[in-house]
């Protein structure tokens, strides 16, 4: 019996995603890899939109997948995000007191 490799041990695989950035008007194709963190995924999506169609805001960005907000350091593999999945990237705007 051989030991199974964890997701972190596999070579990064390409994961093309259907992504929407905050209030943008259109979903876009954004390729990431299984090794990318959510912070990197958010940046990859923002690259096509932020400051181009949606005004840049001074807040952290958060990736939402299947309705769940994912931690910034979690990888695509660990989050179980599969090719052609949909993700939304939103600004993590602090609630106003």
């Amino acid at each position: 019996m051989t030991q199974e490799l964890g997701a972190q041990d596999l070579a990064p695989q390409l994961v093309p995603l259907n992504a929407i950035f905050a209030t943008d008007f259109v979903q876009i194709l954004v390729p990431v890899t299984t090794a990318n963190t959510m912070q990197e995924v958010a940046a990859a999506v923002a690259h096509h939109v932020e400051g181009r169609r949606v005004r840049a805001q001074p807040f952290e960005k958060v990736v939402i997948h299947n309705g769940k907000r994912l931690p910034a350091d979690m990888t695509v593999a660990a989050a179980g995000i599969k090719p052609l999945d949909h993700i939304a990237v939103e600004y993590d705007i602090p609630e106003q007191s």
Binding site: P16, N18, I20, T23, D24, F25, V26, Q27, I28, L29, V30, H47, H48, G51, R52, R53, V54, R55, A56, Q57, K82, L84, D85, H86, A88
Partner: protein, 506 residues
């Protein structure tokens, strides 16, 4: 010798429904082409139409129409009219020529199918004229558009567009293959003559002819009016077919009409919507796209389906809400991905134009104004690079148009939402709930691959913007660009700017 009255000879020459003695009826009219379904074969003997044109009459009338259209063209060719046309109007015509010329040819094939497999002699007779009509439309549209190549290379796409893998054309081919090439003749008569021609193009052509005259393009108005007179006749194949189908299989009738109306509405939002609300100069606009749809398409469509005892489609609320959103999102998509077009898309968002948009569409500023503001600020900061695409928009697996339809939440926020489903081991995404539902019901049909599917399958090489443009057939002399950036950005020069592309600020 006195001539016979029409009713005395019409039956002889037209109603040639013989009884076959060497083969079965089903060998002559196979189900997969004829699609009688639950309708008893003999029920089709009641099919009737009102025009009752004979072949000599048809030829004489068409000859006159042709002579008149070409006479106007020949007279105007010597004038300088074309040189003074607005760039927005020219774009609307380029879009029309490229998008329509060979759809007319697909319609020839559709009419031929009905001329052969129609389930009644009167129907086959009318479709025979219909195919001649469509052949004339394919020719006249190709010829009228193509002659401007000498003045503007983008008119080359009058002939070329339909043969390319441009995303707009993939979307149109998918729609019209589904409506004209794939269906049996019963479904075809309801999808094409009834829903698309009676419902959409008849009225679109009337409106387009009026816009053409308003813009000073007499030649185009003349061409389109000439075509429209044929449409008015052969589109009458839909009514009698629907009447018989509704009687025997109302569920099928409702589904076929619902699907065709939705597909037509999506295509109209992409092409007619931007042309009416953004490309037409403000002073020439008579109606907004929404007003046009409500007055000319929707009232008439609802009246027609209720007349036949059918109901409004299940997606009606989503469709009506879409009248405020779909074409505005598509306009932004067409503009942002402008190198993929064979026309020069106007942005059309100067202060005056925005005031008009906000008056016609009260949510426009909230949903689209903020994005246009960022684009404007980038243009004014001389950062055009930030206004050009580096990836593909996601294309819907049903309509093949970008997934760009924001909807409003209960809390008032507008977001583009995911409409997806899993089928046969993969995930599909759609622009709307309507497109998702139609895909699911039609899931075993052969659908065209979207540009995204092709890209991810490695069919487009190299896998970058250059590779994509090459795959679509775009060359630098044709590639779309904004005709006049200053026209819509100068109102905003000098205003305080923040949050635009970093490259522009540095």
């Amino acid at each position: 010798m006195a001539l016979l009255k029409r009713e005395e000879w019409q039956g002889f020459v037209r109603d040639v429904d013989w009884s076959y003695s060497y083969v079965d009826d089903s060998a002559v009219f196979p189900e997969w082409h004829c699609g009688t379904g639950k309708v008893p074969r003999e029920a089709w003997s009641a099919w009737e139409e009102d025009y009752k044109v004979s072949y000599p009459e048809y030829v004489a009338t068409q000859r006159e129409k042709e002579a008149s259209a070409y006479a106007v063209k020949s007279a105007l060719q010597r004038s300088t009219t074309f040189d003074h046309l607005d760039e927005g109007w020219k774009s609307a015509t380029k879009m029309h020529f490229g998008g329509v010329a060979l759809v007319e040819y697909a319609a020839v094939l559709a009419e031929l199918k009905m001329a052969r497999f129609g389930l009644n002699g009167a129907w086959r007779n009318m479709a025979t004229f219909g195919q001649l009509d469509e052949l004339r439309h394919a020719q006249i549209t190709t010829f009228f558009g193509h002659e401007f190549i000498g003045k503007d290379a983008q008119y080359d796409w009058t002939q070329k567009a339909f043969h390319t893998n441009d995303w707009v054309l993939i979307s149109l081919r998918n729609l019209f293959d589904g409506m004209m090439i794939a269906p049996n003749v019963v479904d075809l008569a309801i999808e094409l003559p009834l829903t698309f021609e009676t419902g959409f193009t008849n009225l679109q052509f009337v409106a387009l002819a009026s816009d053409a005259l308003e813009s000073g393009d007499v030649n185009f108005a003349n061409m389109i009016s000439s075509i429209q007179t044929d449409e008015a006749r052969h589109s009458q194949q839909g009514g009698p077919t629907l009447e018989i189908l509704v009687e025997h299989d109302p569920v099928r009738a409702q589904w076929v009409i619902d699907k065709a109306f939705w597909g037509s509405a999506r295509a109209f939002a992409a092409l007619t919507g931007p042309a009416m609300d953004y490309y037409t100069p403000l002073e020439h606009r008579k109606q907004s796209y929404r007003e046009f749809m409500e007055e000319w398409i929707i009232d008439q469509f609802v009246h027609t389906i209720e007349e036949y005892g059918l109901k409004k489609p299940w997606y009606w609320d989503e469709f009506m809400r879409g009248l405020d959103i779909w074409h505005h999102g598509l306009q932004m998509g067409l503009w942002y991905w402008r190198p993929t077009l064979w026309w020069r898309p106007k942005a059309g968002v100067s202060k005056d134009e925005r005031a008009w948009l906000a008056e016609k569409y009260p949510n426009w500023e909230k949903v689209f104004g903020d994005k246009w503001d960022v684009l404007i600020d980038n243009v004014n900061a001389n950062n055009l690079e930030a206004t050009l695409p580096e990836t593909l928009p996601w294309l819907c697996s049903t309509c093949h148009l970008p997934a760009c339809n924001a909807t409003q939440s209960r809390d008032g926020t507008w977001r583009v939402r995911d409409w997806s489903l899993q089928y046969d081991g993969r995930t599909y995404h759609f622009c709307t709930n309507g497109c998702r539902q139609i895909f699911w019901k039609d899931r075993d049909n052969v659908n065209h691959q979207t540009l995204i599917d092709r890209f991810l399958a490695g069919q487009i090489q190299p896998m970058d913007v250059g590779g994509i443009l090459g795959y679509m057939g775009l060359t630098p002399d044709v590639m779309g660009d904004d005709p006049d950036y200053e026209a819509w950005t100068k109102d905003y020069v000098g205003r305080p700017v923040e949050g635009i592309s970093l490259a522009a600020q540095s």
